[in-house]
Symmetry: C2
Subunit: 327 residues, 2 copies
């Protein structure tokens, strides 16, 4: 046990979406959700508690954050300090191997890695359930990034009961996710703002809660049975119903752009041509395509023609949190 | 009373949408709806019952339709013949002054004009309620095009109880609709197919019925009070919630294209700049913008820059059905 620790966590793509908080402070979600952790996108974070510091010092991708931009990290470190005998400020050095442009949630891997590194550096001995609960306080989707493979987030009803649970950690199913980079800009409406707008103003929101319950009941046995069609149809349907919650909010908004719509059409054309694949997307325009390994070549070829090869990234199931430096 | 008659009917834009049938044969809708009849877009139709004909002869915009393409008109004429002593075939000559490209429902004006001309040529004496019921059998939105100005379609529960009712026929409110032509192609999924897919597969559909009830309750007094903001917010919200029913159907689909999303963004920017206007759209990508006459110039200028002046059409409240030839 030392005052320093390094952890690596991978991001995840939700197949059944988390869209709405029941408790915005504790980040207790309105519904459960289910994701696949991805191997290509991860964050490495080192935390060192140092009594010589007069404030938390946060460096992300080589850039020192202002106190204001570091607020979320500072608040998160306070949660760790509350549980620990270590009360000093910390130096946090984090490198995101998540292309911001990919529209994948770097906050999932970032807060999962921070939870791991900070708790270990603080001398806490947390099991993975406790780590998942801690990561949840930083970012909802980080709850799932503690684990590898297919992961369910049990919504729960309070801090103790809301955490991730692995469904299939070691995925021996030849499936992949092809991520399309359709817009490298930051999203205009954060997922945090967007989901609460849906909760508060969409008259469809109550039905969403039943949709998630039904989709979880359908997708979990389908994953265990490696039933690709059921998993694919469920994730595409779930994603579009989540996005229906953005159109039906007031004021209405959408994360789609013209390329998003064009890429959805291409997925339909690929399916019609016998290349079975399904899309999902989150709080941004970038489509992610769920497919079988045997179809990766056909899919990447088609989308490289449409959007350029640099904008097509292939990922596979990834591992749970790893501690890189337990010196 | 002669064997020939000519009628003119204008199309309408739904402010509270008709999206789903309870009875697909009689075209009884799941919910009420409310529209504004528009002056710029209309259909002129002449019907002549002629004992010398051996089949119905249908000429639209100078082109004679094949028997297959004339099926809907033929079936509609059969409804008229069932109510009349005139059993012969008819010649139908129809000219649509609705740019197909505008994405406005030419079937609304077409079947309203056909209902008027055919019933009069057949010697029937139908009041406007009966005409509205008859037009409904051809196309749901035609139910409303019998009347001018703001028109409500009472959903009803059978053929007798489902018809249009004028709310404000003679509109003395300086408002306009700016129609954008964003895609001149025919829609891939007809409104008829799309709405039934929503009824049958969207888990949000039950909530849509309450949305329409609430929106009708909000928009009718607002129209009578000329409360532009309430009318505008209600129609934009209602349209986006209708389109949420397309995303949430299975398989999911959308009528949006990239220009649709860009035009929606422009409306938001205009509003932020103090030009208050609101959008709506139907089963196609073309946005229609509800505005006050004092803002027409600013709005058409902005959209002409974005999409070209030829693709921006200004309409005002239009009249109900007119009989042009009662010789």
């Amino acid at each position: 046990m030392t005052a320093t620790a390094t952890a690596r966590a991978h991001t995840n793509i939700a197949l059944v979406k988390y869209w709405g908080k029941a408790d915005t402070d504790l980040i207790i979600p309105q519904t459960g959700s289910l994701s696949l952790t991805l191997d290509q996108f991860y964050t490495d974070t080192t935390v060192t508690f140092d009594e010589g510091l007069t404030a938390d010092d946060v460096i992300v991708n080589g850039e020192r954050l202002s106190a204001q931009r570091a607020t979320k990290v500072h608040n998160f470190l306070n949660l760790v300090r509350q549980q620990s005998s270590r009360a000093s400020f910390a130096r946090v050095t984090s490198v995101n191997h998540v292309p911001t442009a990919a529209g994948l949630a770097s906050s999932a891997s970032a807060f999962a890695a921070l939870a791991g590194a900070a708790s270990q550096a603080a001398g806490l001995t947390l099991d993975r359930t406790a780590l998942s609960r801690l990561a949840r306080r930083g970012s909802g989707s980080a709850t799932r990034s503690i684990f590898g493979g297919f992961v369910e987030w049990h919504a729960g009803h309070d801090d103790l009961s809301s955490y991730g649970v692995p469904l299939v950690e070691k995925v021996e199913w030849p499936i992949a996710v092809v991520a399309l980079v359709l817009d490298p800009h930051h999203k205009k409406i954060s997922s945090r703002q967007g989901m609460q707008s849906s909760v508060n103003t969409s008259p469809f929101y109550p039905a969403w809660q039943q949709i998630v319950a039904d989709d979880l009941a359908a997708i979990k046995p389908a994953i265990l049975a490696q039933d690709f069609t059921t998993v694919g149809e469920t994730l595409e349907s779930n994603a579009m119903r989540m996005h229906a919650l953005t159109l039906s909010a007031w004021p209405p908004y959408s994360y789609f752009n013209g390329d998003t719509l064009a890429a959805m059409q291409t997925v339909k054309e690929l399916r019609a041509a016998g290349v079975e694949c399904y899309y999902t997307l989150d709080a941004g325009p970038n489509l992610k395509i769920f497919c079988q390994n045997s179809d990766i070549a056909a899919i990447t070829k088609r989308f490289s023609q449409q959007f350029g090869g640099d904008n097509v990234i292939v990922a596979h199931p990834g591992p749970g949190i790893q501690f890189l430096d337990e010196a």
